[in-house]
């Protein structure tokens, strides 16, 4: 399995996926530094704690709005053709006739993607927090920070698991479209919830919007985990930036659901892969 994991890392590094992502991330972080500097300018004297709190929340929301997208798309576009694409090119045919059980190949690939993208997500998380801390101070509640980190990283196995399931069922390009739309649906669910929190509408309309948002978030819970992470990290700052924050955060039950979703996707993909004809 080590060979499969190493080859997955090698693929992502050689195809310059990680290099491009790192270069663009550095550019983003440079821009983010100036944004954080501008937004946090009023809070430097440290007298107005409420102002510092809201500005910090706004900076974090902006940072993780980008961070959530980058991690999601990196996870999707690195893995969407892992099975169908390699099968179409005939790469898998020479690999799967080797004396290794199929599950080892699948698990090795999954670990390879999750570990490398997880490492990137960890660095991005730390960078966003450090920049925010430099300009608006950071919470010293390390428990919240750890939980936020786990929630941020949690999106990676959710997306990789779903993408690998799709790759056993659809063609490479088909799965790319499927995963982008699935992630888009989950993201839209979050947006519906945020809009519901901002719009001055009747309670029954709010309830309907909330149900629609929840259902869409259940289709792909990655963005929901990101929203919950932001809620924990900003200690429930709520609507600091309209349409970026606001609405009710996903519940603990939702977080459990996301965990079960990731495990189910992993198991389903493995089951399908073991039975697939190549």
């Amino acid at each position: 399995m080590k060979t499969i994991i190493a080859s997955t890392w090698q693929e992502m590094l050689r195809r310059k996926m990680m290099l491009i992502t790192f270069v663009l991330t550095v550019l983003f972080l440079a821009v983010f530094w100036f944004i954080a500097d501008t937004v946090g300018a009023d809070t430097r004297n440290g007298n107005d704690l409420l102002l510092q709190f809201t500005r910090r929340s706004a900076i974090l929301s902006l940072g993780f709005f980008f961070g959530g997208f980058v991690v999601a798309f990196l996870a999707i576009f690195s893995s969407f053709s892992v099975i169908s694409g390699e099968s179409e090119q005939g790469v898998l045919q020479s690999v799967l006739t080797r004396p290794i059980p199929r599950w080892k190949w699948y698990v090795g690939r999954w670990i390879g993607y999750v570990s490398l993208i997880g490492a990137y997500a960890l660095l991005l998380f730390a960078a966003i927090l450090l920049i925010t801390h430099a300009h608006a101070g950071m919470t010293r509640d390390y428990g919240d920070i750890w939980i936020s980190l786990l929630l941020f990283l949690g999106a990676v196995p959710v997306l990789i698991g779903a993408s690998m399931v799709g790759s056993t069922l659809f063609s490479g390009i088909g799965n790319g479209v499927f995963m982008t739309m699935l992630y888009g649906a989950g993201w839209l669910g979050g947006m519906v919830e945020k809009v519901r929190g901002v719009l001055p509408v009747e309670p029954d309309v709010q309830a309907t919007l909330s149900r629609i948002g929840a259902l869409l978030s259940l289709l792909m819970p990655a963005d929901g985990l990101n929203r919950r992470m932001q809620f924990v990290l900003t200690q429930g700052a709520g609507e600091t930036i309209p349409f970026l924050t606001g609405g009710n955060p996903p519940s603990n039950t939702f977080v459990w659901y996301a965990g079960i979703f990731a495990i189910f996707a992993f198991g389903l993909g493995l089951w399908l892969f073991k039975r697939k004809d190549f």
Binding site: T3, Q10, G90, V91, S94, P99
Partner: protein, 324 residues
């Protein structure tokens, strides 16, 4: 190694896809050390059968074993090397890195892996270009790399699906020589190829598939010696003489190349041909031709090529392949 155990044995093995294609009811035994050719037009089900044997697809019905182990099992896969028909190795890797990856999958590491990789790359003619990225390889080079990968584990049984289809004539000859060398070393070869010359030169036995069914199997020699055709190049020919020659020799002599005997020019050489049992009959025909005052420029035995046999066997039958 118990040589009584067949390298490949299948019993009514079938793989039927949703569209009804695949292969049906194949019962086949290939002995250890044998070179077996697998022929058939496109879409006949050859690759499906091979994929079933190497464990890439699950059989719908029937059973099979590789050197005594059930097909698809890890033990069976330890014994085989497989060169797929259509494949493309990751172009961001070098040839050596592709080999190193496959060595890792085979559990071959360290100095042993390095030695084998170097040997196999030299054997297939890639040599020092092994350090180049795969994206710089021609199709023929990629096919050589595929062959090197298939040979990496020193397999007892080698499945080759069109091993030299993308190669130039020199490459094909080199591959053919390599296959003959492997055969001499005792490796069992299962060759799925459209290149009849490869099958004719390398294989001991062969099977023909058509529309998912195995319609014929037997030694290559038996297939090729079903007919021995002699050809005679003669001058001063006339159609009247042809009738006389038939009567005298009691042989079915005819004008070759589909030319109408009546249209043959008296001053142009004509090719005559006949299916003969032995050289005595050829000698008789030579004598009669000369007796009639014709000039005999040349006479030789034309062994039937496997390609001719293949075309004759499949033509006229319904095919579900490219033309289906």
């Amino acid at each position: 190694m118990n040589t009584r155990i067949p390298a490949i044995h299948t019993q009514a093995l079938s793989k039927i896809y949703g569209n009804g294609r695949g292969c049906r009811n194949i019962t086949l035994t290939v002995g250890q050390g044998e070179a077996f050719g697998f022929l058939g037009p496109n879409g006949a089900g050859k690759s499906t059968f091979v994929k079933t044997l190497v464990g890439l697809v699950r059989a719908s019905e029937g059973s099979g074993s590789i050197l005594g182990h059930p097909i698809g099992s890890l033990e069976a896969r330890k014994q085989i090397g497989y060169l797929p028909e259509l494949y493309r190795y990751p172009e961001w890797l070098s040839g050596e890195e592709v080999m190193k990856f496959h060595a890792g999958l085979l559990g071959i590491r360290g100095g042993e892996a390095k030695r084998r990789i170097r040997e196999r790359l030299d054997e297939v003619g890639i040599g020092k270009r092994g350090s180049d990225r795969v994206k710089q390889y021609s199709k023929g080079m990629q096919q050589r790399l595929g062959l090197a990968c298939a040979l990496l584990g020193d397999p007892k049984l080698l499945f080759l699906d069109e091993p030299s289809s993308a190669m130039d004539p020199v490459g094909r000859k080199e591959v053919r020589e390599l296959l003959l060398e492997l055969k001499r070393r005792g490796t069992t070869l299962f060759l799925n190829s459209h290149l009849m010359e490869d099958v004719e030169t390398v294989c001991d036995r062969m099977a023909l598939m058509l529309n998912g069914d195995m319609i014929r199997t037997g030694p290559v020699e038996d297939v090729l010696k079903t007919k021995v055709r002699w050809r005679f190049k003669v001058g001063g020919f006339s159609p009247l003489i042809l009738d006389w020659l038939r009567e005298e020799s009691r042989l079915n002599l005819k004008v070759a190349d589909d030319a109408d005997a009546a249209e043959a020019q008296w001053d142009a050489p004509v090719w005559l041909e006949a299916e003969l049992v032995d050289e005595n009959q050829a000698g008789l025909l030579n004598l009669l031709i000369v007796e009639q005052g014709m000039t005999l420029y040349e006479s030789f035995v034309q062994k039937e090529k496997l390609e001719d046999w293949f075309v004759q066997t499949v033509s006229g039958r319904d095919q579900r392949g490219e033309r289906g």
